[in-house]
């Protein structure tokens, strides 16, 4: 486990600001592995150390990039590359990341295959088979049936009512007049029945 050819003595002495910067990078990488639901602390520590070594070697050539950015780029790139190797399918980069993470989840990596995560080949056959068969589909193959609305066939009374309704919808003055007539009729009826 780990990269034994990187002894601690090779580290340059770091000042306080650099220590804080790498502390932040460490925390971010560690949190990402934690977000992937890795539970084994030894494994997480080892993976973080490996990523940070790579990031620190890049820091020599890219001194302006914050350590956190370098470390997380390394983390995401390593996961992406490893997933592509396991899946062995040509996906465009942007989709690969999601596809890889989905496959890890559906395979049950955090519970069953932690020890395989980010290791070089060969991987257990069951793990590879599970990864490659993991996908999501919102539905089966399309096999639609046409649905076309047929016009509502109304009888003579319904047609007349629809015509009136349409006229009242289009002409607010007519509508007002009809409403006024109906109200007047109702008032007259009430007066005639109850008060006359």
């Amino acid at each position: 486990m780990g990269i034994p050819h990187h002894p601690l003595e090779t580290l340059n002495p770091l000042n306080e600001a650099e220590l804080n910067e790498w502390e932040e990078a460490y925390a971010a990488v560690e949190a990402y592995f934690q977000a992937l639901r890795l539970r084994n602390r030894l494994l997480i520590a080892e993976l973080v150390r490996r990523v940070l070594w790579r990031a620190s070697s890049r820091k020599v050539n890219e001194p302006d990039k914050p350590a956190r950015v370098l470390a997380m780029e390394e983390t995401l790139a390593e996961i992406s590359a490893w997933t592509q190797d396991v899946l062995a399918e040509p996906l465009e980069n942007s989709r690969l990341a999601a596809r890889g993470r989905l496959a890890l989840l559906l395979t049950g990596m955090p519970d069953q295959w932690q020890s395989v995560f980010l290791t070089p080949p060969p991987w257990p056959g069951a793990f590879v088979a599970a990864m490659r068969s993991s996908y999501l589909a919102a539905g089966p193959n399309f096999a639609g049936l046409p649905m076309v609305a047929k016009p509502l066939e109304l009888n003579a009374f319904g047609n007349s009512a629809a015509l009136w309704w349409d006229t009242m919808d289009r002409r607010p003055i007519v509508r007002m007049m009809v409403v006024a007539c109906v109200l007047a009729f109702l008032s007259a009826a009430v007066w005639f029945i109850f008060f006359d």
């Binding site: 639901r37 997380m72 995401l76 990341a97 999601a98 993470r101 049950g108």
Partner: protein
Amino acid sequence: MEPLVPTPRDARRPFFGHFRRLVRRVVFFSSALLANLAACFWMGDLFWRMGFQREHFLLLAVFFVLNGLLVLGSFHALFGAFDILCARRRAVRITRLADGQTFALTQRFAIVMPVYNEDCVRVCARIEAIFLSIQATGQLAAFDFFILSDTRDLNLWVLEETAWTNLCRRLDAFGRIYYRRRKSNENRKAGNIGDFVRSWGGSYEGMLVLDADSLMDGADILKMARVMQLYPRLGILQTPPRLIHGASVFTRLQQFAMRLYGPLFLHGLNFWQLDGGSYWGHNALIRLQPFSECCELPALPGHEPFGGRILSHDFVEAALMVRAGWEVWLAWDIAGTYEEAPPTLIDHLKRDRRWCQGNLQHLWLIFARKLPFAARVQLFMGIMAYLACPIWFLFLLQSTWLAWDRRFSGLSNLTIPGNIGKWLHIDALTQSLILALAILVLLFLPKILALGGAILAPKVRRSFGGAFPLLAGVILETLVSMLLAPCVMVAHTVMVISIILGRSVGWDTQNRETDGTAWRDAVRFHALPTVLGLVWTAVAFRINPAFAAWMSPILLGLVLAIPVSVWTSRGRYGRALAARKILATPEELDPPEVIRLADAATAALDPALSATHEGRFGITAAVVDPYVNGVHVSLLEPARMSEPELDLAERCLSEGPHAMSDHDLTDLLYLAPAMLHMHRSVWLRPAESIHPLWTQAVESYRRRLEGSAS
């Protein structure tokens, strides 16, 4: 050895003969009409004896409609009781076709559950229970499940995706349970189902339509599918859902009443509707080919609320199927079919507001050509379910006016002999008491028949917890229903008036569970009936204390609307009643297997994939969490990100999702490259360059680590 698949019944041979169907309908409706005419004649004669006035014409007309509806309801129970007494083997039962059949289905069926801003964990629990229940029958291969989301809340969308993924992982059901979300929820539930039919309907013979709160037993689903396979004329097979999981007093009252009195009405309904049944929107199996050919709903003339898109689509779909020659049956004997009810009176009335508008739209369809008699009757009864209340209100107002008029007009109360008085030698008081008694009998006949039947049948009596809980439940249900009815009457009257005035209704999420109605909300909601009740009581006392006593069931219901609404909404009172087996149902006392499965279901919950963590909920999790993001992006269509879309993503990163409009946020959530870009950015970028919400979400993983270390 696998049982052979029987040959389907000859498509030209109906299950029930047309002549016998005609006889049943003539008997049912003519007897109801005769009973109503007799009551109206009796009432008219009473008016004559009192001195006929013009007001009496109107009152008699209103009485004809109201009493007609009452007679229709009671006769359903009466004919239902007759049907039950005829014994199960003689009652018309379409599922008889699948009795004793054990063959493997050769046709495929879809189980579809449209959801709209629902609790996705509970939705998935119901799917899980149905899945396991069908799996136990060994016929799972014939069924696919579809969660058809119309959810507009973006956080809930993410939660639905994670719940569904967990469900499929746990049940190993990828490729068996599907989830899809519509970007636009055009035409609401009917549009959602239509979209499914247009996308995948061709792969299946039928679809079992469920509601988000529906639950069905696997063996019953299989039986229904076998009936559909064996009977080619069958278009829709509707089951009568039983209410379950009632916690508040209000829901317990509803579920008890439906469970005890429901079978009588179902038998009565089946007595006359037969192959011209109705579809109630869920818990029904629908044949897809005819559904696609007949049931794309046309727009009604004019705009909403009376015109436009049809809101209550189910009745219309059944009517269109029957018009096209397909049979729609009620599978009254299917027991494993369940749903839940709104927990409070206020929630119930809010749902009624939507249904009211939908049913009033059906006025147009009464005038549609070539619609069969049964379909017109179903539509008419649906309309009258809501128009009955304003008519009842009008009747009560008129009665009060007549009493007022008689009190202050100085008219004599002496009566003259009428026809009935002469024939039967009874005075006017006796005549009026007989009429009142007859109406009371009609009102309470279903309850009396159901209670008597349940107490006399030992198995049924025990299933409700015994004779005492049954009796106590019926008395309590009757009393509370009497108190609730006037409040519902006023609410429905206001609904109908507001619809006539042109106010359309929205599409609210249903509240399926609650701790109860707050007093403030109850006062706000029931202020009108309370004030009306107080004024009406004062008027009634002014007329005559005897008249006030006569009106007291109505007046008490109005005056007490607020406390009754609050009291019936309380879960603690519901639990207290449940502890004494009062208002208990057989499903509550001895839950069937599928209900137990649903209650114990947890497959949708998994900490490995969760979007409900504090600090990274919903959308935040879809961006930050590697797995939630992976699931969300995997369900999106491949796309490329334009410059403006990149700017939008950057704005979301710097200002946070709360600063975005719903429209922009929806666009981002539908754009896979944007979601991937944001996921990468929140992890890569230093805290000062992104919104603190993202930083806190990232930090939340670290806190977990530190928390577990300590």
